[in-house]
């Protein structure tokens, strides 16, 4: 009789544990698992800081004032998340926040790369629109144009022509600091071209 009661209790508790464990979310970033979104974000920022530490300033004098406009969490949640089934709001928010952090951290990368004398960072729901509005006030405006999770590009606009120029990353560069360094080098090269154009 005792055995049956114990068995019943074990079965009931196991099923409850199964229910509860199946319902909880775990968060992973860069191959590590975290029990909360906050811990995962902290791990994420730590990783971004390690990339920043590996950035080397570009050669030559920095070129004036720049504005960096990156998408908000809301925009990243709408356009940057690849969905399967009915995605849970909490998960979408976690991914959206991670993307917002990723992109806004380019302000640190640009500062470390010393491409510009000063860089101001802004987070906007509509970076293209905000960049166009603000471009007259800066020597260069860089924004992230996000159309979907797979259609994301960095764009530079600068006077006198204010024509959008795509900023590229070296696809062959290793992930992490080398990839970001290639992006900084491309910004620098494009600004050098712009300055040559201005001096003509």
């Amino acid at each position: 009789m005792f055995n049956n009661k114990v068995t019943m209790a074990i079965v009931a508790l196991s099923m409850l544990a199964l229910c509860l464990s199946g319902c909880g979310n775990t968060y992973s970033y860069n191959g590590k698992s975290y029990s909360s979104a906050e811990d995962a974000h902290a791990g994420h920022i730590e990783y971004l800081r390690s990339i920043e530490a590996g950035i080397v300033p570009v050669a030559g004098n920095p070129s004036g004032r720049a504005l960096l406009v990156t998408p908000s969490q809301k925009t990243c949640e709408a356009l940057g998340v690849t969905r399967k089934g009915h995605a849970e709001g909490e998960i979408v928010q976690y991914i959206g926040k991670s993307l917002e952090d990723d992109y806004s951290f380019f302000l640190n990368f640009l500062n470390k790369g010393n491409v510009f004398k000063t860089v101001t960072g802004e987070i906007s729901d509509f970076p293209r629109q905000r960049a166009r509005e603000a471009s007259k006030e800066y020597d260069a405006t860089i924004y992230l144009d996000m159309q979907s999770a797979s259609q994301v590009s960095w764009v530079l606009i600068s006077p006198p022509d204010n024509k959008p120029k795509q900023i590229n990353m070296d696809s062959m560069a290793a992930p992490g600091a080398p990839k970001i360094q290639s992006w900084i080098n491309d910004v620098h090269n494009k600004m050098t071209e712009v300055e040559q154009c201005r001096s003509k």
């Binding site: 009661k5 019943m8 229910c19 709408a78 399967k84 089934g85 995605a87 709001g89 293209r128 629109q129």
Partner: protein, 220 residues
């Protein structure tokens, strides 16, 4: 011995009850299963830039909503283990038409176009709608009618839609009209990976229709 049989029976009954609850309710009453959808995320991809400011209004004319049988927040069905249906509603608790209006406005804003929104309710007459549009100054107004918009989730997700877009000028004169729908005559629709993405694509097709884009831009 009889007592042992009694306990085994109880054990079987308990297991069956829990299994049934799990099957029917997924993770249980408090439910980690998401029975809501956030269509304000369904920003359509728009490949042209309108040449003037816009106003967007969405009206919900789904028959079951207009008749009052379903709430304006209804977005579809999610089925349990035996095909038993649960109603799905908007994550925001706001009418579906309002969530979709937010998505369409954001889609146009993401092209760099200033876009306003008017909130419309299912029983508004055409005159009421045009009056509402007239209250906001913009060169072009887009009215999207939801004739159908519903997902059904069982083992896969199906998503059906029937949408009409009308573009009006600043005086309320109809400039163009087009319809996009995917309602299968056989009653069987192809499954989709995500209802939100399917909704985004549906809106993108509707607004990408030449009749709409021509009325919104002077040149592509």
């Amino acid at each position: 011995m009889q007592e042992q049989i009694k306990y085994i029976k109880l054990l079987i009954l308990l297991s069956l009850t829990l299994s049934t609850l799990l099957l029917l309710g997924g993770c249980g009453g408090s439910s980690a299963i998401n029975r809501t959808a956030n269509y304000s995320y369904a920003w359509p991809s728009i490949s042209y830039q309108p040449s003037s400011d816009l106003t967007v209004g969405i009206i919900d004319k789904r028959l079951y909503v207009v008749s009052g049988r379903n709430k304006e927040t209804f977005v579809g069905l999610m089925r349990g283990g035996f095909g038993n249906p649960w109603y799905m509603s908007t994550e925001s608790g706001e009418p579906l038409a309002k969530d979709i209006a937010h998505a369409v406005v954001s889609g146009f804003m993401n092209t760099g176009t200033n876009t306003n929104m008017v909130v419309l309710s299912p029983n508004m007459s055409q005159e009421d709608i045009l009056d509402k549009f007239a209250s906001v100054k913009s060169a072009r107004k887009i009215l999207i009618t939801l004739n159908e918009w519903k997902s059904d989730t069982f083992r896969t997700i199906t998503f059906v839609y029937d949408l009409t877009a009308e573009v009006y000028d600043d005086k309320g004169v109809l400039m163009s009209r087009c319809t996009e729908e995917n309602i299968s005559t056989s009653g069987k629709n192809m499954p989709v990976t995500s209802a939100i993405d399917a909704g985004r694509e549906a809106l993108g097709r509707l607004l990408g229709n030449e009749a709409v884009s021509k009325a919104l831009i002077l040149s592509k």
